[in-house]
Symmetry: C4
Subunit: 256 residues, 4 copies
């Protein structure tokens, strides 16, 4: 079995100078939420399933009792608007477990999308702050100064030494390895507390991306999810508050 198995589940599409967008699981699941929302809203079509020996040896069980071997998937979307570019979107259940798997996966995926004409990549992820955020900003990084300059016009924040550790995982590798192939790349990182999945941060990232790509989508589904998460977060805080109170009381009892 090859390290990475690429399975076409639909005919290889003919795309017009497509742009490649990545959103895989990661901090706050920002990238995956964004990519999945984009796929839903555009009704993008799955055409490739990617299996890898560096994914966990695991199948998920669907609601109807059927199984699904964990994978990554490529979708495409053909625009009808003149001047607009087609899209290829990557999402999936996991990133590679090891360094080696990560590199192998990114390299294989670049092979596929480059063969389909991709010259520009946007990778989406989260930037964990470890604290509450009122309004998540979108940080950026890019393969050239020229791109950095262009992106600053779209409210993308570039801050020296942030993120300090750079970008780890597929969001970094795809534009890093892409740069070596002469492919332009941009990474958008939505600020997120990083405790829970963060649809609000995914929305912030997608708003920037769709503005740049001149794509019109609804964000209501992401907003609905954000409300759900907010409700859960509030309940967790309440529970924590109660348990802290309990501890204080215990302390009092003890001291008393």
């Amino acid at each position: 079995m090859k390290e990475v198995v690429v399975k076409y589940v639909a005919r290889k599409p003919k795309l017009d100078r497509p742009i490649f967008i990545e959103g895989l699981p990661g901090i706050g699941n920002v990238g995956k939420l964004a990519a999945e929302h984009l796929i839903e809203e555009l009704n993008a079509k799955k055409f490739v399933e990617i299996y890898c020996k560096d994914f966990p040896p695991q199948v998920f069980i669907n609601r109807d009792g059927t199984i699904k071997l964990v994978n990554n998937e490529l979708y495409y979307w053909k625009t009808r608007k003149k001047g607009q570019r087609d899209l290829i979107i990557l999402t999936g259940d996991y990133q590679g477990l090891s360094s080696e798997g990560q590199y192998e996966l990114s390299d294989t995926i670049l092979n596929i999308v480059e063969a389909l004409g991709v010259k520009q990549i946007f990778t989406l992820g989260g930037y964990g702050l470890g604290r509450e955020i009122e309004k998540p900003r979108v940080l950026g990084a890019a393969t050239s100064r020229n791109l950095v300059k262009k992106l600053k016009k779209y409210d993308v924040v570039f801050r020296e030494n942030e993120p300090g550790g750079g970008i780890i995982g597929a969001s970094g590798l795809l534009i890093g390895l892409g740069k070596l192939r002469g492919i332009e790349g941009v990474c958008f990182m939505g600020e997120t507390p990083g405790y829970l999945v963060d649809p609000k941060s995914a929305e912030a990232v997608l708003r920037v991306l769709t503005k740049i790509l001149d794509i019109n989508i609804s964000f209501s589904e992401l907003q609905r999810k954000a409300e759900e998460i907010e409700y859960i977060a509030d309940q967790l805080k309440e529970l924590e508050g109660l348990s802290k109170k309990g501890e204080e009381r215990k302390d009092i009892d003890y001291i008393g």
Copy 2:
């Protein structure tokens, strides 16, 4: 040395549309107990030994002082009943230690059994609940809705989002990778506390499987083992009870 070494220890059998059954070590050792019991009862014949660089570098010592390099093994059973199907049964000492080894092993085993005509797989495992169970149910997952529908008639339980983490290891991979080859697959998971090996859960799984396969075997040996385990479990609980009492007494002394 190849990642996986396949050694035929008997002539390759000619089988009639055989069904492939897997039972390897895992939670409660349910799958392995079930597969071994089936092999015993049917007097199935070993024909393949599988060695792998991803198994521990280990030999076991048999009772007579001889050694055995850890492996997986394939057995076959030829039915004499008309209309019944032959079986290939997999069991072994270990599953692969790494993701890569797990995939490589499952892929190699599928190559072997597919070449022997297998079009249907049953994988057997445990579903750990972390609590005592009166009567273990058998949960299921399958490669198609049609199969799910059929299995429900055999008291197999399908519950949304259970197991939540899907199926990990060979029981998941074999049907997951098998599905990609167009092989039908079913996984049976016997409920088990998961603390000790669980022959009772293995019996529950085997009862469903043999009913589907229209095979008649005795379960008395599994029942004997279940009684042994129950006895051990009771003794462990007693010990725990004693030690807890001891602690309580200490607490009292201390407070006193």
Copy 3:
């Protein structure tokens, strides 16, 4: 670079039905001590160095300031006694770090020694008891019942289910993989507390081995080392005793 690099540092010897003996680092370093002592006493000649990507990336510094890349080494010894067999002895700095490396190394070494005519293997190791031992016994395991029977005449102990976990590492793999090639194999495990290197246990193992091989060597160097270790062990115990006394005194103060 290949996973395992075999470097001949002397001409390939012509040996008469040689016996292969392994002694690598492990519990109590019993095997390595035994193999090194045998090499010393027989003045065996190094002819192969084995380097491996699965050894640590490390050089040792010799007393004279020169370096040595960590490796395994093969020595040979040609007997002049009629009817006696030549020997090939393996020792080294490390065993492979991973399962895969262990298998690859053992397989490569078997290729080398099999090409030199080896039909019989003795592997040497320790069996850690975790407690003091007056007189270490030598436990055995072998590839056939016939061998087991023969060895019992040489005071080798065979006990059911001991060691319970079988034999892990090169001592197990070499005879396990050897058995698959039709090579006879025996493992001798010297009982050892397992806390410190154990020349006494190495002597016990070597006494059995040399008796079987009809080889006459001195054990005085191993005995000298055993006295050294005993001295160190005594000092460690004394230190421990002092520190325990200190703790007790503290307890008294505290309670007082």
Copy 4:
């Protein structure tokens, strides 16, 4: 994707019996600081970038918002002084994460520099003492006794059994694997507390190296960095002092 990817970013240089110098991240970052300083001062020219599946899957973000895939880099420097030798200098962001990656990287790099005529290697690193040092000495290790003798004239310290664990990582492997190819090798280890990056130790190492190579460079930049680090270290100590005092006070309160 190959395990190690070598990318020439400038034409392959023609060098006169070049000497190869390595300085990668490690204890106190001594090697990397030294190699980078040498590159700066000599204005050496980058000609190779090395990417590896065993580096972390990571890009760094530069100050201008552009990204850089983590790598190792080779620089060369051509002397104009007659009789002096040209240099190839290796530095980088990471060493390989696994044993296998370390061996593969060192082997690949030796292939490159050997093809360019290298017959002598100097590797630079730190020797962590875990305590403050007034004036760091430079410890040495070499591939031959002859070299050891020569180096002793340059204030390089050779001490029996120091470092006890030998040399781990690229600094050891490059001269260890080089020795197997018949390449002369020396490792210089600057003593360092090992808590923080240590430009002072890097200076000590470079002073020995440049004296041997008859190269004249300024050390003022390293000295400036050393002052910075000293300032940081002092502040850390002060903080620690304060916090300890706090603890003592608490203790008093408690006891009181």
